[in-house]
Amino acid sequence: MKRNYMTLGIGLLLIFIFIAILCFGQVRQSTVVVITTFGKPTRTLTKPGLFVKWPVPIQWAHVFDQRIQNFDDKLDQAYTADNYTLLTQVYVGWKISDAQAFFPKFEGGSVLEAQKKLEGLLRSAKSAVVGRHPLADFVSTDEKKIKFDQIEHEILKIVQDQVNQKNYGIELQFLGIKKLGFPESVTQEVFKRMTSERQVLSSAILNEGESEASKIRSAANAQSTEIIAKADAEAKIIQGQAQSEAAQSFAVFQQNPELANFLLSLNALELSLRDRATLIFDQHSQPFNLFQGYSTNLANPLLKK
């Protein structure tokens, strides 16, 4: 009897496991489960945990990721309001907000299908928004002109409105510009412009340097002349003071101007004949007047003795 109970118990457990596999399911954190009865969505389960359903041919459970999905669209070309060609790529963070609505819109509730749809919506939204703005709204050195955030919001709004209108069960969480570019031929033009800008800049820098340097030089020269002129003036003042001081001594010479003249003449003589001078004398000049009275140096009796 005991063995029968055990066998029965094991059998019941196996049956329970079998039924459990068929009838139980899990709602995992950050997923949503949609139950379809004979192909029609009947229940949406959002709370994580166990749930019970009829076995497979009657009810199916479809699991949807509720997390925010990243999606980057393709690089698309559009014209700005001022006719520049601009390439834009955006990234979108989106999630399934209404799985029951999402499920029938895209084949098998496929995320990839949904993203394909989003891509189309984004392309037309981008070209509409880019066409509304001049290039200066995208890039500008004027902080007030630039409308980066606004452009992103406009694209987001257009796409979200269309998604809501068609009831895709999708919610866009955020959208941002990922790439901003010019067509390849335009980059070449930009490079040419940049090159010439660099050349202008180089020569401007060099000219500025030269003119700065010559300013410094001429200022230095002017300053130097001024310094020397000032020194000359100072020297003249010093000389003048010295002369006036010396003039005080002249009073002494007043006692006998004749002697004073004689002494000054002697001084002058001494100074002027200090070197490289040739003097020519005859017998009238002192001390050669001593020779007077003797015939010549040849007939000098004193020497002949």
């Binding site: 050195t141 630039i146 020194a231 490289r276």
Partner: protein
């Protein structure tokens, strides 16, 4: 005491014996039970076989249960945390409850699911737009492809600056996960979302800067703008991370390297010219100062000499005056002879012309050099 001990020992021995006896006795009522109505040897053998296979199955099941439960042991590495989902529902409701490093146990799947989350480590992402096409290997080896005269937007990344120029810029963002539950369960790929925020930030920042500000003049402010933008986006998108650092690197397009370098050369030339002018200035001013000092010094010296000599002259005059007044003619003659004698010893050439005997005057012709006399020049009479 020894009695007691002995008794105890004896008792233990008894107990051991009774245990040995108990074991088979306890098993015997179970084992023979199914074989209570023994019919023949054949059915007895079948019953034995069944009995032993049941025992094997029973032990196997026990082993299986142990293995099943044992498989629920898991390890959390340092720097990581774990969250357990029971039937899909997190057991840990907030970040404080997450399981830390060490060994843990949970029910094996499908009851529980263990999710390991990076937590304390620093994560890093690098921007994917804004840089020309290259790979880390090529860059490390310095074997990058030649820069073309245009950029293909599908392959090469770049950023457009506020003044409509093109630059390459890239950023590396270091962050740590502050809210791992959110990071893990709210985003299908949170690091990708962080990367896109960083991509957006470099375009956003470049779009409002001048090319020279990004590259040379205002690198820090550019970097700060990138950081501010990415911080704002991360907060807006509620990514559950906290930013540690943001490094930005920017270069001009490689094709224009020469043009950009020529500006740098011009800048250094300007500095050189400027420095030369400054050194000229200091030299000229120093020279002027020296010259000025020399002139005033000379004036001072002359002044002193003048005053001194005049004073000396005056003194001498006062000394000589009484002697002169005593006999002016003699005094003059004595002094004159003395001076001429002195002068004559200094003079280079002395020529004496005696009077002719006939009393006529002599004629003397002098050829004077028109050349300016030099201090050491030859003298020609």
């Amino acid at each position: 005491m020894s009695d007691e001990h002995h008794h105890h020992h004896h008792h233990e021995h008894d107990h051991g014996q009774s245990l040995e006896q108990l074991r088979p006795r306890k098993a015997t009522p179970r084992v023979p039970e199914p074989s209570l109505p023994p019919e023949d040897a054949g059915s007895q053998a079948l019953a034995d076989a069944l009995k032993s296979s049941f025992a094997i199955v029973k032990w196997l099941m026990v082993l299986l249960v142990i293995v099943f439960l044992g498989s629920g042991i898991f390890k959390v590495e340092p720097g990581k945390k774990a969250i357990v989902l029971r039937f899909g529902k997190p057991l840990q409701r907030n970040n404080a409850e997450l399981l830390g490093p060490g060994l843990h146990w949970s029910f094996p799947p499908p009851i529980d699911e263990v999710k390991i989350i990076p937590y304390s480590g620093i994560q890093s992402v690098r921007s994917t737009v804004g840089w020309y096409y290259t790979t880390d290997e090529k860059e490390a080896l310095g074997r990058e492809d030649e820069a073309g005269m245009s950029l293909n937007p599908a392959v090469d990344g770049y950023a457009i600056t506020g003044d409509g120029n093109i630059i390459h810029t890239r950023a590396t963002l270091l962050y740590h996960i502050e809210d791992p539950i959110r990071y893990e369960f709210e985003f299908s790929n949170a690091s990708n979302a962080v990367q896109n925020a960083l991509n957006n930030a470099i375009l956003y920042a470049a779009a409002r800067f001048k090319v020279d500000d990004v590259l040379t003049r205002d690198i820090t402010r550019f970097q700060d703008t990138v950081l501010a933008r990415v911080t704002e986006l991360v907060a807006q998108e509620n990514l559950g991370i906290s930013i540690e650092q943001c490094q930005v690197q920017s270069i001009p397009p490689r094709y224009l390297k020469g043009a950009f370098d020529s500006v740098l050369v011009a800048l250094s030339t300007r500095d050189k010219v400027h420095n030369e002018a400054l050194s000229f200035q200091s030299k000229v001013l120093a020279d002027a100062g020296a010259q000025a000092a020399a002139r005033t010094n000379a004036a001072n010296a002359e002044a002193v000499a003048l005053v001194k000599s005049v004073n000396a002259e005056a003194k001498r005059f006062e000394e000589l005056l009484p002697r002169y007044q005593a006999n002016p003619d003699l005094f003059v003659n004595v002094l004159l002879s003395q001076t001429i004698g002195q002068v004559l010893t200094n003079v280079q050439d002395k020529i004496y012309l005696p009077e002719r005997a006939d009393g006529k005057t002599r004629e003397l012709r002098l050829q004077l050099s028109r050349e300016p006399a030099k201090p050491t020049g030859t003298f020609q009479p």
